[in-house]
């Protein structure tokens, strides 16, 4: 008998049925049922009503412990009082103004003081804005054409970052993308030679946190070797720290791996949900970026800058990377033990702050999908095939409850599959 009753999602479905009439696919992107990979959709909430700390409530009033954190932005907890106070104070002063607010300068100075490889900061709204600027800057700086990507890459959804078989993408859009495998320096060398050296740079996430597969962390030795390779070839090394930024190391994930990237992209955890992103880089890249025509209507809005300053300062005070490592380890150790009690082999991979889960009892992932769905429909919000995110509002009691729900869900799936006992 399940200790945690299953949620109902009647109002969510009502809203979704309205949404599908006026919004393409109802909820597009990773927050929606298609790209979010909700299997089956009946177990998931579509829309939220409110959020606080590490919890959100859906429109049916169901409460969730949320380890997706809006896919990253929620780093201190929803409605963090310090960040919200800073944002509201700035809102009263001005937000989207003809002359940018001075808080933009303060925000850039704060980033330069925080990020080890940063001598400057350029602001935008989304991660894609910064990865796109980084690739443009690499080409402008080197006057070379090709870009290297590491297999399983995700650097946003702009045309150049998609794949040739995606709807609306032309072969020409991605003709200069060269994909090389992770952790293989010889492959980098071979690819470089195959391009006759016409390579502007390498854009990469700090480690292989792709979907549908166990995440593979990198080593300092690997990144130091890649840094050396890029230096020797005159390639720009771009760290896409959009997902991992501020969760591994407040000084940047390149610092975590003992190197300095030429350019580093931030978004999600930058302002605890206030909409902004930043490209940071070394002094040697500043004049190149100065010469690029690139801006947007809301990119210099002041409220997110104020939120970012408060967010970063609070993360420093709390030492959130250490906190996330400890909490993520405690949580996933609990999940693994609960899985084992019910005969499931739960594989935990990636960094504890961004843990990735996979039940390895079958190679189709169907058992894993069943378990995740039973967790979600009992109030523990996980994703089937995406890394998760820790936030600073998580308490020991939250972790305890999350493990209890996870165990309950394992029990439900175990009961449904007597064949697993052999």
């Amino acid at each position: 008998m399940s200790k945690f009753p299953e949620y109902k999602h009647d109002k969510s479905h009502e809203y979704f049925n309205r949404a599908i009439k006026v919004i393409p696919s109802g909820i597009y992107g990773h927050l929606g049922p298609g790209e979010g990979l909700w299997v089956p959709v009946s177990k998931w909430p579509f829309f939220s009503e409110k959020a606080q700390g590490t919890y959100f409530w859906d429109v049916d009033g169901n409460k969730y412990i949320d380890f997706m954190c809006a896919y990253g932005p929620n780093v201190l907890g929803y409605n963090d009082p310090d960040v919200d106070a800073a944002a509201l104070k700035q809102l009263k002063l001005g937000n989207c103004t003809t002359s940018p607010s001075k808080v933009m300068v303060e925000c850039a100075e704060n980033l330069v003081d925080t990020i080890a490889s940063a001598d400057w900061a350029f602001f935008a709204k989304n991660g894609s804005d910064t990865t796109t600027l980084a690739v443009m800057a690499a080409r402008a700086h080197t006057h070379k054409k090709k870009m290297f990507f590491l297999k399983g890459y995700y650097h946003g959804d702009f045309q150049w970052a998609q794949k040739v078989d995606y709807p609306g993408i032309l072969p020409e859009d991605v003709a200069n993308n060269v994909v090389v495998p992770w952790f293989n320096l010889q492959a980098l060398e071979d690819a470089y030679n195959a391009c006759d050296g016409d390579v502007a740079g390498l854009i990469a996430q700090p480690y292989d946190h792709g979907n549908f597969k166990d995440n593979e962390v990198a080593s300092k030795e690997y990144w130091q070797a890649v840094r050396k390779f890029c230096d020797e070839k005159g390639m720009v090394l771009i760290f896409d720290d959009v997902r991992t930024g501020f969760r591994l190391d407040l000084q940047g994930s390149d610092h975590y791996y003992g190197i300095k990237a030429d350019l580093i992209c931030f978004c999600k955890a930058l302002a605890n949900g206030y909409n902004m992103s930043a490209l940071c880089g070394g002094e040697h890249m500043k004049s190149t970026v100065s010469g690029i025509t690139y801006t947007g209507s809301y990119w210099m809005s002041a409220v997110p800058f104020a939120a970012s300053i408060a967010c970063i300062n609070k993360m420093k005070k709390l030492n959130t990377p250490k906190m996330f490592r400890e909490m993520g380890t405690k949580l996933t150790d609990g999940f693994k033990a609960a899985a084992a009690e019910h005969g499931f082999d739960l594989v935990v991979s990636g960094e504890p702050a961004l843990f990735y889960l996979r039940i390895a009892n079958d190679d189709s992932l169907m058992l894993h999908q069943e378990w995740v769905a039973e967790c979600v429909s009992r109030g523990l919000f996980l994703a089937s095939h995406h890394n998760h995110f820790m936030n600073a509002a998580v308490t020991d009691d939250d972790i305890k409850k999350a493990i209890e729900i996870a165990e309950d869900a394992f029990g439900v799936v175990e009961k449904r599959h007597p064949e697993l006992k052999g």
């Binding site: 909820i27 579509f46 169907m366 999908q369």
Partner: protein, 253 residues
């Protein structure tokens, strides 16, 4: 953008290959074949493209890959010429089997005309529920085989296949036809029955929905949200299959 070589593979294996299902499911096709006294085999041999042999008996037909024992041989000097035959702009000229020319002109043409009627249905015909069901089922089989051909031949389709893991994808219409898309080393094979142990599943919840999807009236992403398209298992395989599915519409347009 389509290429004529991939189109030839789609036309031969997916379109003409659906004659197998037509002869098994359609009363009119069965009546056409009923008069066949002896088995007849036709080999379509496309230079620079596919080769397959279709064996007809009074009970049905079966396509086999490659040049098998045959009564009639129809060579094509190019993929474009073969595609022209399917479009009706090129008249096929057999080089072997002149004594069976009657089968070619009468029985084979009658069957392909019937197939065309069902795969390119008029709005009027689709109002008949039985016709609608048969048309949708045959379209389903055509699409299933076209998926494999496009994944193996088309440049963009091959890119999608290059991301696919080994295993069987169940491609299904609930309470209706089923197919397997088998992936091995990024090569695809369509089998016109459900897999025993699928690694991934994509199921449409009705013939009507499948028909609407095939005709571009609705999008799979919308249907996933509504729960009318069920996906499970190794979803990266389904995702990439869905990308190839997008290209099927181009080739079967």
């Amino acid at each position: 953008m389509t290429d004529s070589r991939t189109m030839a593979y789609v036309n031969l294996y997916a379109v003409l290959g659906t004659l197998e299902n037509l002869c098994a499911l359609d009363t009119k096709a069965k009546e056409i074949l009923y008069e066949l006294k002896k088995p007849v085999s036709i080999c379509f041999d496309v230079k620079g493209g596919p080769t397959a042999t279709i064996k007809f008996t009074c009970k049905g037909c079966r396509m086999e890959d490659g040049k098998q024992p045959h009564d009639i041989l129809i060579p094509f000097s190019s993929c474009e010429k073969f595609n022209g035959m399917i479009d009706g702009t090129v008249t096929p000229i057999p080089v072997k089997g002149f004594t069976k020319i009657g089968f070619l002109l009468k029985t084979f043409v009658a069957l392909t005309d019937r197939l065309t009627e069902l795969l390119r249905p008029s709005e009027e015909n689709l109002k008949d529920p039985a016709f609608f069901e048969l048309s949708t089922v045959l379209t389903f089989y055509t699409i299933a085989v076209a998926l494999a051909q496009i994944g193996n031949q088309d440049a963009v389709g091959r890119a999608s296949a290059s991301y696919m893991l080994d295993g069987d994808i169940a491609f299904l219409i609930k309470d209706g036809p089923a197919a397997t898309l088998r992936v091995k080393d990024h090569r695809l094979l369509a089998i016109k029955k459900a897999p025993e142990k699928p690694r991934a599943i994509m199921q449409f919840d009705s013939l009507q929905l499948a028909n609407d999807l095939f005709n571009g009236k609705v999008n799979a992403m919308e249907c996933i949200g509504l729960g009318t398209v069920e996906i499970r298992g190794m979803l990266s395989m389904v995702d990439n299959m869905n990308r190839i599915l997008d290209r099927v519409a181009l080739y079967l347009a």
